[in-house]
């Protein structure tokens, strides 16, 4: 029998949420701590499935970053618990990106699982988050500024034209609408992580100050606990006075340091979290150890926005991509590796000119990971691994760009080199097709009149 948490429900009206995973589908839920959570009388089971961390390829190519079976397994774990306990289940930003196809995929999985397990009928609510390029084009033409974030300039037509797909980041609003319509399972398009948890709390009248923070602290599951161990469940409880978060894996605890530390995780500033409708100010948060595995937090503030602005994420294709891999062991060649790559690049220039493609050399053993910021770039290792990427409009050209650059490193002309039978070592005498290259084209915001206007909601039935 799993160990339940130590504290009973607070005397005040409370809402409890179990969060089993901070990026559903990306790495499997650890089910032991999740089952403990299911014994803690949760009112909902919620998880975020989205992340920009996977890079621009999934959004641009409209794919998920992980195998379908992992997504099915995580959804099955949550769905069976949710129906057994009779509490709603919410998943946000379906399939990493929250595009329409990922929402449809997750809704389909839920309906298939309901049939597979013979679950009694329930309502599945979902919403879309994609924004059409035409809609943004009209905004730009009408001089309705689509503002850049993080130092980016306002969106222009050239950047929009270079974009493949765009999602807007929803707030609490479509989730509340779908809960009001009786959804037992909600599959969200792209949305703010914290909205998934804040929505049911705000809907039930808990203060926005606490509800948004409640979402912020729960959204990464066990990342707010210590010792480090991902994909374990945590339990959150909100009252009208406070937020509590409890580690559910017996080996983990939520501590003041771990919960406060999580407030700064993967954000530029630990004090503020922005979303559609406003932001939370965490600068006055007070953290206290409530019991051995639980931290109690008071003092976050919700600051409503003076203007509703929705965040937009977009990715655009640069081209097809091939990858080659070579190694270097000769110390003289290592010391002159920039001459080797320059030679290889020049051979590509002679074939294709100096534009219309991209060629990248990533030099492991010197400064691959930090680039120009590497303080030790003048002291390379005794052997180097060099990854060559060729990016071009067609597969054939990308293959050739990559192949010329990779092969010609072998023939690089260094004046003093002793080894004249080949300048590099090949792992494979071939170049490999990789995913097409994309880039983040949109990291912007635009004004909306209604927080629901970009997020159409739908209800379907599932089960038998």
């Amino acid at each position: 029998m799993p160990v339940s948490i130590q504290h009973g429900r607070s005397a005040n009206h409370t809402l409890r949420i179990v969060c089993p995973n901070g990026h559903l589908g990306f790495a499997p839920i650890k089910t032991g701590s999740f089952q403990i959570g299911c014994h803690c009388e949760p009112d909902l089971i919620c998880a975020d499935s989205g992340s920009c961390d996977v890079g621009p390829v999934p959004l641009g190519a409209d794919i998920s970053s992980s195998p379908l079976q992992w997504q099915v397994d995580d959804l099955e774990t949550m769905l069976l618990a949710s129906r057994r306990l009779g509490v709603p289940m919410i998943v946000g930003s379906a399939g990493d990106t929250g595009t329409n196809s990922r929402v449809d995929l997750f809704v389909g999985i839920i309906r298939d699982l309901a049939n597979k397990h013979g679950l009694s009928r329930f309502r599945v609510g979902y919403f879309y988050s994609e924004v059409s390029k035409d809609a943004l084009r009209r905004r730009i033409v009408d001089r309705d500024t689509v503002m850049g974030l993080d130092g980016r300039p306002p969106l222009d037509l050239a950047t929009l034209d270079a974009t493949e797909r765009i999602v807007a980041v929803a707030g609490i609003h479509p989730y509340i609408k779908l809960l009001n319509e009786g959804a037992g399972v909600i599959i969200g398009g792209r949305s703010s992580d914290c909205a998934i948890f804040a929505a049911p709390a705000i809907r039930q009248g808990f203060p926005e100050d606490l509800a948004y923070f409640y979402g912020k602290v729960l959204e990464c599951a066990s990342f707010c606990a210590e010792p480090y161990g991902a994909k374990e469940s945590v339990l959150g409880e909100i009252t009208i006075d406070d937020v509590k978060v409890t580690a559910l894996l017996p080996e983990q605890r939520c501590t003041i340091a771990s919960v406060a530390g999580h407030a700064m995780y993967e954000r530029a500033n630990p004090f503020y979290e922005y979303f559609l409708g406003g932001h939370i100010d965490m600068s006055q948060c007070h953290y206290e150890q409530y019991d051995e595995r639980t931290v109690r937090v008071t003092g976050p503030r919700y600051v409503p926005a003076s203007e509703l602005r929705v965040k937009l994420e977009g990715a655009g294709k640069i081209g097809e991509r091939y990858v080659g891999i070579v190694g270097v062991r000769d110390p003289y060649t290592i010391a002159n590796i920039d001459l080797v790559t320059a030679w290889a690049r020049q051979q590509v220039v002679e074939r294709f000119g100096d534009s219309g493609y991209e060629l990248h050399f990533t030099i492991y053993g010197r400064n691959a990971i930090l680039g120009d910021k590497e303080p030790l770039r003048a002291a390379p290792a005794h052997e180097l691994g060099i990854v060559v990427q060729g990016v071009a409009p067609t597969k054939a050209m990308a293959e050739e760009v990559c192949m010329i650059a990779t092969r010609q490193m072998f023939y690089a002309r260094l004046p003093q080199v002793k080894g004249t039978a080949g300048g590099v070592a090949f792992l494979l005498d071939e170049v490999m097709r990789a995913s097409p290259a994309y880039r983040w084209t949109l990291n912007h915001t635009m004004p909306v009149d209604d927080p629901l206007e970009l997020f159409p909601t739908f209800i379907v039935e599932a089960g038998i």
């Binding site: 920009c52 890079g55 993967e266 630990p270 990971i369 990854v387 880039r439």
Partner: protein
């Protein structure tokens, strides 16, 4: 002569991670308030010091804060290109903290 120790010996956590698609954020977390205070006072993680370590200009740092509740110093820098663009070799931004480990902290 003042004794010094490496940041990796006295910090509890030293990590880097994407903060959105255009920035990377660094968290250096200390086990107790005396260590946290000493590092703060030493200036080895000041804006200027961070710029020297990574060879970047001051305007490339978007945020630099001391976060008392977590006993942490946190700073955020702009990426050269957005995460996952071809040529970017750290899509999650998770291995950018290496140069911080060997920073010498005097008087600890």
């Amino acid at each position: 002569m003042t004794a010094s120790r490496k940041l990796s010996e006295i910090a509890k956590t030293i990590r880097s991670k994407n903060a959105g698609v255009d920035k990377i954020t660094f968290d250096i977390v200390f086990p107790d308030s005396s260590t946290y205070d000493q590092v703060r006072k030493s200036g080895v993680l000041s804006r200027a010091a961070v710029c020297r370590v990574f060879g970047i200009a001051a305007e490339q740092i978007s945020d630099h804060v001391e976060f008392d509740p977590a006993l942490a110093i946190k700073f955020t820098i702009y990426r050269r290109v957005p995460s996952g663009s071809p040529g970017d070799a750290d899509i999650f931004g998770s291995q950018q903290y290496g140069p911080l480990l060997d920073i010498e902290v005097p008087g600890v």
